[in-house]
């Protein structure tokens, strides 16, 4: 379709996208209720065609409910906070592919023809460096020389299942905009005239910013071997070389844990745990503003599921089903369904995990981020760097990362066991009974070994 740029069409597309996104979020709430029910040996909402009309009923209720604004809140921030939470969530979704883009992106590999073709690494000789600069300059000149009309024609001639295609800083954009969601949480808790909301929001913000570091570090391995932050190029790399989860399973596990924390989902649910802090930072919010917080959380879930599937599980690629060069309607539709199916399966996994793992206490949560996940991700990245640079077994060195990941994990387990049990003392002196000293680690009181 080679249409000129039309404001009307653009606005219609915006409305359609936002509307469908909100619809997906509303039905995800139904999916969550149903899955939670099935796990708990009960049926979820089953009136009105097996619960299909339930989200609509919820929406109508929220629209018509009374908006209570407590006295003493900071009006400006109270109104802005849910808007920020939702805005950043939607913005992060803009660069995430939910289908294929045509034409296929080209992997930038400056070492084509040399012995180490296969890893997209920077040039190391002067000749290669000159070639890189030349290629970059050509590329920049080509894109700068296009007029606005030509760019629009180019945009309309290609089919992009992406809201903002060809963004070269893909993952960086997602993470940085997603970090801004912390503002929504902090302002929400601060502006409510409520001590407990404030505590909840502070805990939530501490959790969110702590888990952003393992989130970024675990993805560095994927970015390193692909050579680009562009999500479409990462999918292209996985089509040519195999899914990233086969090479870097530890990075996948770390990323999965971090995104659970980023979405405030169980087991990292403490800031909004209903049993502990009433509602945490969204206690004082009623109908629509509360709904906006919920929408923001579910949109984060959708975004991170897409990113997870794109980074580690090949995006829209399924080995014998989707062909990378097929841009017909059937091909594009198939790719769309593949990636959406993967995304939905990960969301079901999100919901199952909610009912599987116990909630982490706040200090356990922070321990996990700073003392466990940060060292492990750094260690994994270092090992990957060494493998990529030295390539001990030649071409297929990257496959070594998989068993090395397992060794790193087990090593971390051993270190954890040693740290927890403390140094063992065989002979100690007894200084008194009935004094109530405990056997906690780090206590300098020495107790006689009774041999039991």
């Amino acid at each position: 379709m080679s249409l000129e740029f039309s404001l009307l069409i653009t606005l219609i597309m915006i409305v359609a996208l936002l509307g469908s996104l909100n619809g997906v979020v509303a039905y995800l709430i139904l999916v969550e209720r149903k899955i939670s029910a099935w796990v708990q040996d009960r049926v979820g909402p089953n009136r009105a065609f097996f619960g299909i009309l339930q989200p609509i009923a919820d929406g109508v209720k929220l629209l018509l409910k009374e908006e209570v604004i407590p006295k003493g809140v900071d009006k400006v921030f109270y109104m802005i906070a849910p808007a920020i939470a939702l805005f950043t969530a939607f913005l992060a979704l803009a660069v995430v592919p939910f289908g294929a883009t045509s034409p296929s992106p080209v992997l930038v590999d400056y070492r084509e023809g040399t012995a180490s073709h296969g890893f997209a690494v920077w040039p190391s000789t002067q000749v290669e460096y000159d070639a890189v600069i030349e290629a970059d300059r050509n590329h920049a000149e080509v894109t700068k020389s296009l007029s606005f009309k030509e760019k629009i024609k180019q945009y309309n001639d290609t089919t992009n299942f992406l809201i903002a295609p060809h963004v070269d800083i893909g993952i960086l954009f997602v993470f940085s905009v997603g970090s801004l969601a912390v503002y929504g949480v902090i302002l929400g808790g601060w502006s409510s005239n409520n001590k407990y909301s404030l505590l909840g929001s502070l805990r939530s913000s501490a959790q969110l910013i702590s888990y952003e570091i393992p989130l970024g570090l675990s993805v560095l391995g994927v970015v390193l071997v692909t050579g680009s932050l562009n999500l479409e190029r990462i999918i292209q790399y996985q089509i040519e070389h195999g899914w990233n989860v086969l090479f870097q399973p530890l990075a996948m596990v770390l990323f999965a844990t971090s995104i659970f924390a980023e979405c405030n989902r169980l087991p990292f649910d403490l800031p909004e745990s209903e049993q502990e802090l009433v509602g945490g930072y969204h206690t004082e919010y009623s109908s629509m503003k509360f709904a906006l917080f919920l929408f923001g959380e579910y949109t984060h879930m959708i975004t991170t599921s897409f990113v997870m599937m794109t980074l580690f599980f090949g995006g829209w690629h399924l080995p014998f089903v989707t062909k990378p060069d097929d841009f017909s309607y059937l091909g594009m539709g198939l790719k769309f369904s593949v990636i959406v199916g993967k995304m939905l399966s990960f969301i079901v996994f999100y919901m199952l995990i909610r009912w599987t793992i116990l909630r982490f206490r706040f200090d356990q949560l922070m321990d996990l981020a700073w003392k466990v996940m940060l060292p492990i991700s750094l260690c994994a990245f270092t090992v990957l760097l060494l493998l990529v640079h030295f390539q001990p077994i030649g071409e297929g060195s990257l496959w070594l990362m998989s068993p090395f990941s397992l060794f790193i994990l087990l090593g971390a387990g051993f270190i954890g066991v040693k740290v927890r049990n403390g140094p063992t003392k065989s002979e100690v002196v007894y200084i008194g009974h009935g004094t109530g000293y405990s056997l906690q680690r780090g206590n300098k009181v020495l107790l006689k070994n009774t041999g039991k």
């Binding site: 040996d41 009960r42 793992i357």
Partner: protein, 198 residues
């Protein structure tokens, strides 16, 4: 306490597999998925009762709406002794006694009103009644459109009796099917005041 009387209990050791969390998570996921599969296939213990298509099975002594019993001749059994009214913790029973038109009892209730909304359905009136006149049935889905509608007078309470007898759901249950002693007519040979002599 002496040193050898104390037993030191240590928490179980956390092994390597426990520290990396993943094996425990996987076994937990197996449990979760098993439950989900069972519910979907219908083989598990589904604890949800689809009300109003499926009604609950109530115990026989379930305390629902009150009724005033009739005796075999269809007369109201209550003798207006005010025991239920006195026993009621919520003070929801109002009785006005009148001389009874029948020979075998002194009084009968001319007005007998229970406010079903004030009632706490404790069953003390049922326990207090000496002639087994008032009982709590198993009717639980009682609704009304106004507060006045829920103040049951004698006719309404008797009609509850007629309805439940027709439905067959609530037989006379007090004292395992037999009525209390005070319901039976006086035996011959025993005068008003009980005496030691037979």
């Amino acid at each position: 306490m002496k040193a050898d009387e104390i037993t030191w209990v240590k928490p179980p050791k956390f092994g390597v597999m426990d520290h990396i969390y993943l094996p425990a998570i996987l076994s937990g996921l197996a449990t979760t998925l098993t439950h989900m599969g069972q519910t979907l296939l219908g083989t598990g213990e589904n604890t949800t009762q689809q009300f109003p298509e499926q009604r609950p099975k109530l115990a026989d002594n379930y305390r629902g709406v009150h009724r005033l019993n009739r005796d075999e001749e269809g007369r109201v059994k209550c003798v207006a002794c005010y025991m239920c009214s006195t026993a009621c913790p919520a003070h929801c029973i109002d009785i006005v006694a009148a001389p009874s038109p029948w020979p075998d009892r002194e009084k009968y209730p001319e007005v007998f009103v229970i406010d079903e909304l004030r009632c706490i359905y404790c069953g003390m009136c049922e326990q207090a009644c000496p002639v087994d006149a008032i009982e709590l049935t198993t009717l639980y889905d009682l609704v009304g459109l106004s507060r006045e509608e829920m103040i049951f007078n004698k006719e309404k309470l008797l009609s509850v009796f007629d309805q439940t007898v027709a439905m067959g759901t609530d037989p006379i249950r007090t004292n395992k099917g037999r009525l209390g002693v005070a319901s039976e007519p006086a035996q011959s040979g025993i005068t008003d005041s009980s005496s030691m002599q037979s």
